[in-house]
C-alpha cells in the first residue's frame, strides 16, 4: 500500500518531523506525486517554509523542491507565489501575515515548483485547510516545520504522518529509542469518552480531581507553567483524595518532574490529563518513565497517527541501512506502518510493519 492510500481518509493531513532533516518534505513530495498520479485534487500549505533550495540553518544541505501539477491549490505568500513563475488563479486573500508576506490561496493553472509558506499559527492553518477544502481540494496536506507539532493537534488535522531519521543520532539504537518515545507521546491514550473528567475539563482551568470524581479543586492560574515542587506538594496535601490532574493548557516537563517527586514523597499515584498530545512537552524523559514513576498521562483528544516515514540518511554526516532501521523500529512500534519512500522497494510494496 502506498503512503497516499494509507492516509487518504484524513481530509486534513498533518506531516510532522522529529527534527530538521528527517525527510518530512520528502514524504510530502511522495504523497503529492502519488495523489497527482491518482488524479486527486490536493491543497498544500506549510506552517513553516517548504520547497526552498537550501536549508535555512545549514546552507550546505539541499532541500527537496515541491513539484505540483495543474489544478493543485496552494496557500503560500504573495511573493513566493510570484517568484515561482507558475501560472495561477488567485482564489482568496487571507489577511494572515507571516515574516515572508501575506498568505494567499491560489489554484495552479500549470505544473511547476512552488515554495510554500502558509500560516504559522495552528488554528490559522486549520482555517486555511477548511477554506481549501471548500474551494475544491479533496485533501489538504499541512506540512510542519523543524520539530513543531502544533498543527498535528486534533483541533487542526484529522491524521498525522510522522517522520524520523538518522539525523537523531549516530547510534541506530538511539534513533529507535527516541522515535519509540516520540510515538508513545503522540499516541497518548484518551480518557473514557463518557468520563466525568471530560466534563470537568470543559471549564478550561486546571483542576485536581478526587479518586471518586465527586469533588474537584481549582488550581491557581498558570500552575503547570510555574509551580514548584513545594507548591505542588502543598496542593496534594490539601487534597489527599486527589487522583487526577487536568491541565488546561501546556504541560511542560519541569512541572511533570516536580509533580512526580511531590507525588512519590507522599506515596501517591496520579493520572495527568492534557487537552491533546501536542500540549505535552517531553524531551528528557518518556511517557513510560512517568508511568513507572506513578504518573499516567492521558489526553482528552488523541491524535490519529497513520504512518511513520524514515530517512536513513543524515545529511553531511552518517547513514544507516534502511531495511535494518525499519525492522528495528517495527519491533518497537506495534503495527504502525513504516515507510522509506526513497527506498527502491517502496512503490507497490507493503510497509514494513509486523503482521499478526
Amino acid at each position: 500500500m502506498l503512503l497516499s492510500e494509507l492516509t487518504a481518509a484524513a481530509r486534513r493531513l498533518a506531516l510532522v518531523g522529529l527534527a530538521k532533516n528527517t525527510g518530512k518534505t520528502v514524504a510530502l513530495t511522495a504523497i503529492l506525486t502519488e495523489l497527482a498520479d491518482a488524479g486527486r485534487a490536493v491543497g498544500v500549505t506549510s506552517v513553516g517554509r517548504d520547497g526552498e533550495q537550501n536549508d535555512v540553518i545549514d546552507f550546505r544541505i539541499e532541500k527537496p523542491l515541491i513539484e505540483l501539477v495543474a489544478g493543485s491549490l496552494v496557500a503560500t505568500t504573495d511573493s513566493l507565489l510570484r517568484a515561482s513563475g507558475v501560472p495561477h488563479e488567485l482564489l482568496a486573500k487571507t489577511a494572515i501575515r507571516t515574516p515572508l508576506g501575506e498568505v494567499l490561496i491560489a489554484r495552479l493553472k500549470g505544473g511547476g515548483t512552488v515554495e510554500i509558506a502558509g500560516p504559522s499559527a495552528a488554528l490559522d492553518a486549520r482555517h486555511i485547510a477548511d477554506e481549501m477544502l471548500a474551494l475544491g481540494a479533496e485533501q489538504v496536506l499541512i506540512d510542519g516545520a523543524i520539530d513543531r507539532r502544533a498543527a498535528s493537534s486534533p483541533d487542526v488535522a484529522d491524521g498525522l504522518v510522522m517522520s524520523t531519521g538518522a539525523i537523531l543520532s549516530e547510534d541506530i539504537e538511539q534513533v529507535v529509542e527516541r522515535t519509540r518515545d516520540a510515538v508513545a507521546l503522540v499516541k497518548l491514550p484518551s480518557v473514557d469518552s463518557d468520563s466525568r473528567l471530560r466534563e470537568l475539563a470543559r471549564a478550561g482551568t486546571s483542576v485536581l480531581v478526587d479518586g471518586d470524581l465527586a469533588n474537584h479543586h481549582e488550581l491557581p492560574p498558570r500552575f503547570a507553567l510555574t509551580a514548584e515542587e513545594h507548591q505542588i506538594k502543598n496542593q496534594l496535601d490539601q487534597h489527599p483524595q486527589a487522583r487526577h490532574l487536568i491541565v488546561a493548557g501546556a504541560l511542560p516537563e519541569p512541572f511533570l518532574d516536580s509533580l512526580t517527586r511531590a507525588a512519590r514523597s507522599q506515596g501517591r499515584t496520579l493520572t495527568v490529563i492534557a487537552p491533546d498530545p501536542t500540549k505535552v512537552f517531553l524531551h528528557e524523559r518518556s511517557v513510560e518513565h512517568y508511568r513507572r514513576a506513578g504518573i499516567e498521562l492521558r489526553v482528552l483528544k488523541p491524535i490519529e497517527l497513520l504512518a511513520l516515514t524514515v530517512n536513513p540518511l543524515a545529511p553531511q554526516s552518517h547513514s544507516f541501512d534502511s531495511t535494518r532501521l525499519r525492522a528495528l523500529l517495527a519491533g518497537e512500534l506495534d503495527g504502525l506502518p513504516i515507510f522509506d519512500v526513497r527506498h527502491p522497494e517502496y512503490r507497490g510494496s507493503q510497509p514494513a510493519a509486523p503482521r499478526g
Binding site: R49, V56, H127, A145, L225, T278
Partner: protein, 259 residues
Amino acid sequence: MPREVDLSAVKPYADHLGDGLVQMSFTLPVPYSLAARKAAMELLAKIGFEEPEVVHYEQLTEGYTYFVLFGRCVQTVDFESLQGEGFDIEYMSEEEIEHFAESHFGRPIVVVGAATGTDTHSVGIDAMLNLKGYHGHHGLEGYRSFETHNLGSQVPNGALLAKAIEVKADAILVSQTVTQQQLHVHNLTELVEMVEAEGRRNEMILACGGPRVSNELAKELGYDAGFSKGTYPHHLATFLVRELAARETPDRVSSVPAS
C-alpha cells in the same frame, strides 16, 4: 557616470563595478613563514577566489599567522529574484512610533523579553529593551508607549510564557544564539508550541532575535518576525506597532474573496 548595475548578476566590487574584489582576513594555525603565505593563497584558490593575493601577514603568536588578503570573486547572485522576499520595512523614528502608538492604542504596549533555555547571552535582549540600548539608540524601556519586562537570561520557556500571560503581553521577544546544534532551535520552537498549547498564539506577537536569525528562519520556527545583527530598538518598535495595528483590524483570520 557610473555604469548601470546588472541586478540579476551582482558581485562584490572595490575599484570598479564587476571587478569582484573581496578583502578578507583569517588566521591559520601555522608558523609565520613563506610557506604560511603560500598556504593562505592556496586556501583562497580552493574556496574559489581567482588571483589570491596576500597584502599583509604577521605572526599572531608562536605557531599562528594572521593574514589580510584580496581575492577576485567569480560567482554572482541574482538580486532580482530575492527582492520579492520578505518585507522591506521603512522604519519610523522614535517620535513617529510614540505618535503612532498613542493615536492607535491609547495604552502602553506590553513587551516581555528573555534569553531562553541555557542561553547566557542577554546582550541582544538588553540592547532592545533596556533604557541604555546601544549605539545611542535607547531601548523600548525609554519609550512612553512601551511597558517592558526584561526577564534576563537562562529563562525557562514556561516561566517566560507565564509572565507574558500574567502581564497580558502584546509581544514576546526571545533572543537565542542559533547554531547548527538542534538545541537552540528547539528552545525557540518549544516556546511557540507552548504559546499554541495555551491557546494564545493569536493574542501575542512572537519575535526572535540573534546573530543568525533571518525572516526565513523565523518563519520556519513559527515566529512573526526575526531580527539579526544591525537591528536597533526603533526597528523592532516599528514592527511591533505596525503589526499590532494590523491585528486590530477585524478581518484577521477570515478569508475574503480576491477582488
